[in-house]
């Protein structure tokens, strides 16, 4: 039976009813990185540990990907079915800014500073039929928990 599997283990909590992104925190200098990594880019220490960095943030900058990228892009789309997607950096509460696909794909729907929320969604079908899940962001719904 087809399963819903993360595109890469350790990017976000999955499966989960309330998923969040997973980064790493340096035990020497306290800096946070995404995705999690064993080395600290700030101080060169090798002592880091995984840490949840949340599922809401604010949009720091954005653009729109209007053409279908060449490989290594790997989706189920064809040039005919390709739909432009937003790309942005979302500033998380810890300050780290995460690059992500955005649901909004028109300039009038995107504004620096807008509140964003994490979505875990299917991106393509793997050879074995599994649904490959990725993280993306969309405009936050009002009053949602943080």
């Amino acid at each position: 039976m087809a399963e819903r599997v993360a595109i890469k283990e350790g990017l976000f909590t999955w499966p989960s009813d309330n998923p969040e992104l997973i980064g790493s925190r340096c035990q020497q200098c306290g800096e946070t990185a995404f995705p999690a990594q064993p080395d600290c880019r700030a101080c060169s220490s090798r002592e880091t540990h995984a840490v949840g960095i949340g599922n809401r943030g604010t949009l720091w900058t954005w653009t729109i990907q209007s053409f279908m990228p060449k490989t290594p892009y790997l989706s189920d789309e064809t040039p005919e079915s390709f739909r432009p997607y937003g790309v942005g950096y979302v500033e998380m509460p810890c300050g780290v800014r995460v690059e992500a696909r955005l649901h909004e794909n028109t300039p009038d729907a995107l504004e620096i500073g807008m509140e964003m929320e994490l979505v875990i969604e299917p991106f393509r079908t793997a050879d074995n039929g599994d649904q490959v899940m990725i993280f993306a962001f969309r405009r936050a719904t009002e009053g949602a928990p943080t």
């Binding site: 595109i7 720091w60 653009t63 209007s66 060449k70 490989t71 290594p72 892009y73 690059e99």
Partner: protein, 381 residues
């Protein structure tokens, strides 16, 4: 330590040359640079060269002659040309060699670059999900920059308009047709806020320089150009760079800022002394941001300078007099050396229709590229 001079320059025109492979275009550039210095390949004691898609530069000896010289391949992303020149600069400054060649060439397929994540220390998911495009990065960087510094979209079109105008004055440029700013602004949106004609394209071409110990430069030319500084710097923790799945909470200067500062310190020359300059204009926004990052103005001053013509050939800060990357395209291995070629042409006073007036004496070049590195030079008559 020895000073370094550029005594020969050569170019194989950028754009598309269907009947020549990349290496042949590199060889053509060397064959143009050697007679410019009154020298032959057999006179070269060393060479540095690089290419992204055109093959190993040291294989050029198969075309130019197997003379046994030290030939070292350089590959350093978009700063490949700048890094080759830096290596030659160091070889001469150290006193190890007196005369050598620097060459860059490339021949890229059409369309945007498609880098592989693993070659850049990144994981496959980053490329598979469509986040690893240089076009996106440049669009997002200028989007944020315009927001922070109040720069209007019309400035982006004005930069490209100037590039195509300068290209129309440059016999070897790829894009030689002027284009009004309105047409640039209204062309297809590629990556908001950047339209089709605000981006340069991967291309083909070759560029070569003959360099020597400055003490002997006048044996070969009446117009040596002195390479006062050549500096390459990589990104710092906290700077906003291409191919970054995330940015650090800390904010640091771009590598361009530190490369420029170091080059000005080494040369004892300041940005106010520069008469003609080349700034990496992978797209319109890059030229705007690089004006300030290199120290030629404050952040936010660019709109005034550009809209009032200061960056044109007849302005007081002429930028990319040959049309830059926008009008010449970007063969990665050759692009940084094309910049130096153009500054040498300007400082020799050989620019023809695109010559900067009033005998420019100090020039400057700057490349920036993946994965966050910058190469700059300071050049004088």
């Amino acid at each position: 330590m020895s000073e370094v001079a550029i005594i020969g320059i050569g170019l194989h025109p950028f754009g598309r040359t269907a009947d020549m492979n990349g290496m042949q275009q590199g060889a053509a550039a060397v064959r143009a640079a050697l007679p410019d210095a009154g020298l032959e390949w057999q006179d070269m004691q060393f060479a540095y060269g690089g290419s992204q898609d055109g093959g190993n530069a040291d294989s050029l000896v198969n075309e130019l002659g197997l003379t046994g010289l030290q030939f070292t391949n350089i590959w350093n992303g978009c700063a490949t040309g700048g890094s080759s020149l830096h290596a030659a600069y160091s070889a001469i400054k150290s006193g190890e060699y007196d005369i050598g060649a620097v060459v860059g060439f490339d021949k890229h397929p059409r369309g945007a670059f498609n880098p592989q994540p693993r070659e850049w220390g990144l994981e496959d998911w980053y490329g598979e999900t469509g986040l690893m495009l240089t076009t996106q990065f440049f669009a997002m960087k200028i989007q944020r920059y315009m927001h922070e510094h109040g720069i209007a979209r019309e400035v982006l079109a004005k930069v490209a308009e100037k590039a195509f105008h300068n290209g129309s004055l440059t016999p070897h440029a790829w894009r030689q047709t002027p284009m009004p700013a309105e047409e640039i602004a209204n062309s297809m949106m590629v990556s908001d806020p950047l339209t089709k004609y605000m981006f340069c394209s991967p291309a083909e071409g070759g560029a070569a320089l003959i360099v020597c110990n400055a003490d002997i430069a006048r044996r070969f030319t009446q117009k040596p150009i002195y390479l006062k500084a050549a500096v390459v710097r990589t990104r710092y923790y906290g700077s906003f760079e291409v191919f970054s799945p995330s940015q650090a909470p800390a904010v640091a200067q771009a590598p361009t800022v530190t490369a420029a500062r170091t080059a000005f310190e080494l040369s004892g020359i300041g940005p106010e002394d520069v008469d003609v300059l080349q700034l990496q204009d992978t797209e319109s926004g890059a030229e705007i941001m690089h004006m300030a990052e290199n120290g030629f103005c404050e952040h936010g001053e660019q709109a005034h300078l550009i809209m009032n013509g200061h960056t044109r050939i007849d302005g007081n800060m002429p930028i990319n007099t040959d049309g830059g990357c926008l009008a010449n395209g970007e063969p990665v291995g050759a692009s940084g050396l094309r910049q130096v070629y153009e500054i040498c042409v300007q400082l020799r006073g050989e620019g023809g229709a695109r010559q900067v007036p009033n005998d420019p004496k100090v020039g400057y070049t700057h490349v920036y590229g993946a994965p966050g590195l910058s190469g700059v030079t300071v050049l004088t008559t």
